[in-house]
């Protein structure tokens, strides 16, 4: 049984929250690391 299924989300809010929960800490970590990397080019 093969049924192609649309990927339209029933809850965009849930998607935004899920990505924010992982994206915000990751962005913070990358930012903190880049401030250290700045010493390389300073």
């Amino acid at each position: 049984m093969s049924s192609a299924q649309s990927s339209v989300t029933p809850s965009t809010g849930r998607l935004v929250i899920a990505w924010a929960l992982v994206g915000v800490p990751l962005a913070y970590g990358v930012y903190e690391t880049l401030t250290r990397v700045a010493a390389l080019f300073g």
Binding site: M1, S2, S3, A4, Q5, S6, S7, V8, T9, P10, S11, R14, L15, A18, W19, L21, V22, G23, P25, L26, Y28, G29, V30, E32, T33, L34, R36, V37, A38, A39, L40, F41
Partner: protein, 464 residues
């Protein structure tokens, strides 16, 4: 605990598959903390009155347990589904921190070995492989992109854990403002307790967000025939038990082992290496400690971004070709680094960045490579067995580099030339990996699982 079973995690119609990568990332970002142990290493040395080596064993035990648990538990993970696997991984990972903190508070180093090393290491292994086969099933059109996103989290976890742990240690230790401050053991114990709670919550979010696609699901507009058009991609399935009997599994194992060994060679020595490469005749280095720390940070970014970017690229180029780049171009870049790396800081930094991005890319592309060769049936379990290459490389990489450097002189007196034997050995390893990857061909049909209406007469023997 039936609510953790695979059957209870089947996605309802209309479920958005883009909810699966953040669920996977939630787990990988947490277990990626394993690469941020240097933050409290000195504090533990002081607290236990132990040597650096004795404290380093905590991390080594955790990585060995990662490889072993991934290899042993892979089939269990595939059978029970991602929710139960993530839940179990969270329980082990958080318990590891709790037992570790008990060891710190009670001055019992063996409890830290048992907690963070053994118990936490099991959480690492199960957590690492838990979302892989689910992601591949949700993204049959872009498996490299999907696994790259998750495995990128393992590289990114340290970027978060490192500054957060430093801030927490300062908050927990009243003497943090003192000159030459080293965090107290008590503050590290409190850090472990905090991490246990936070990681448990995050990983539970992942466990209860992830879902598996229903039988026969495929993304809108996806045509499996187009994927099959690539010669190495199979629509058949090979069990984990049979996969390890094939030549292809061991060729990919060798390719991954060589790629990881070469990458670890640079990662392990990153900070002293850049200072040694630019050491002047009077013994001083053009690269200060701050520059070295910045270099380590840049490599972390390269490691993380390579996991995503190269793995996603492999969906276009094919897995075998991208591994030829990791290993072939990697060998050339390593040679330039060994012979001309000391001529310019920019050249040195650029070469190391690309080499480390290949290291990360090798990890992230491996599950999709296995999917291409062995199908989706037990790809998580096969991936678990492949990760023993990582454990072996974790021992071989530092051994090779340290043995060569020990023969060249004492730390602080080394220069660029001192690194040439070690780096050129890594070039040799990369060439071996390149040849192994070149020899990868489609898996013989006798290893395929029988399709409905087709019966296999006997179990296939080990491939010669």
């Amino acid at each position: 605990m039936g609510w953790l079973d695979r059957e209870r995690t089947i996605a309802p119609p209309g479920f958005n598959r883009w909810l699966v990568p953040p669920a996977a990332l939630a787990v990988h970002l947490c277990i990626g903390q394993a690469y941020a142990t240097s933050v409290y290493k000195t504090a533990l040395v002081k607290h236990f009155g132990a040597s650096l080596t004795e404290i380093g064993v905590i991390f080594s035990v955790a990585i060995v347990m990662l490889g072993l648990s991934a290899a042993i538990m892979g089939t269990w993970v595939d059978r029970n589904g991602p929710r139960k696997a993530m839940f179990t991984s969270a329980a082990f990972w958080a318990s590891g921190f709790l037992i570790g903190s008990l060891g710190i508070f009670s001055h019992q180093l063996w409890l830290v070995y048992l907690g963070y090393g053994v118990v936490g290491g099991i959480g690492l292994g199960i957590g690492y492989i838990s979302p892989v086969s689910t992601l591949i099933k949700w993204f049959p059109d872009r498996p490299g992109l999907a696994t790259g996103m998750a495995i990128m989290g393992f590289g990114g976890g340290a970027l978060i854990a490192s500054p957060v742990s430093t801030a927490l240690l300062k908050m927990y230790d009243p003497n943090s403002g003192a000159k030459g401050w080293v965090a107290s053991g008590e503050s590290v114990g409190k850090l472990f307790l905090t991490l246990a709670v936070v990681y448990l919550a995050y990983m539970m979010f992942g466990a209860f967000t992830i879902k598996v696609p229903s039988e026969g699901w495929k993304p809108a507009g996806f045509d499996p025939a187009k994927v099959k058009a690539a010669s190495l991609v199979t629509t058949d399935n090979v069990s984990a038990r049979n996969a390890v009997k094939t030549r292809q599994f061991w060729l990919v194992w060798i390719a991954l082992f060589c790629n990881v060994t070469a990458g670890i060679g640079i990662l392990e020595q990153a900070a002293p290496m850049i200072q040694d490469f630019f050491r002047q005749p009077d013994g001083t280095s053009l690269a200060s400690a701050a520059v070295a720390a910045g270099f380590v940070g840049l490599l972390s970014i390269g490691n993380m971004s390579g996991r995503f970017a190269w793995s996603a690229t492999s969906d276009v180029t094919g897995r075998k070709r991208i591994y030829m780049v990791y290993l072939g171009v990697g060998a050339v870049l390593y040679t330039v680094l060994a012979l001309a790396g000391s001529t310019s800081t920019v050249l040195y930094v650029a070469l190391a960045f690309v080499i480390i991005s290949f290291y990360g890319g090798g990890f992230a592309t491996a599950p999709a490579y296995l999917r291409d060769l062995f199908g989706t049936f037990q790809v998580g379990a096969i991936h678990g067995r492949l990760l023993t290459a990582w454990s072996a490389a974790g021992i071989a990489g530092p051994l090779i580099v340290n043995a060569f450097l020990d023969a060249q002189g004492k730390p602080g007196a080394l220069n660029a030339a001192s690194y040439q034997p070690a780096l050129l050995t890594m070039v040799g390893l990369l060439v071996i990996g390149f040849v192994a990857n070149l020899l990868v061909t489609p898996v013989d049909a006798r290893f395929h699982e029988p399709r409905p209406g087709r019966v296999r007469s006997e179990e296939p023997a080990l491939e010669g």
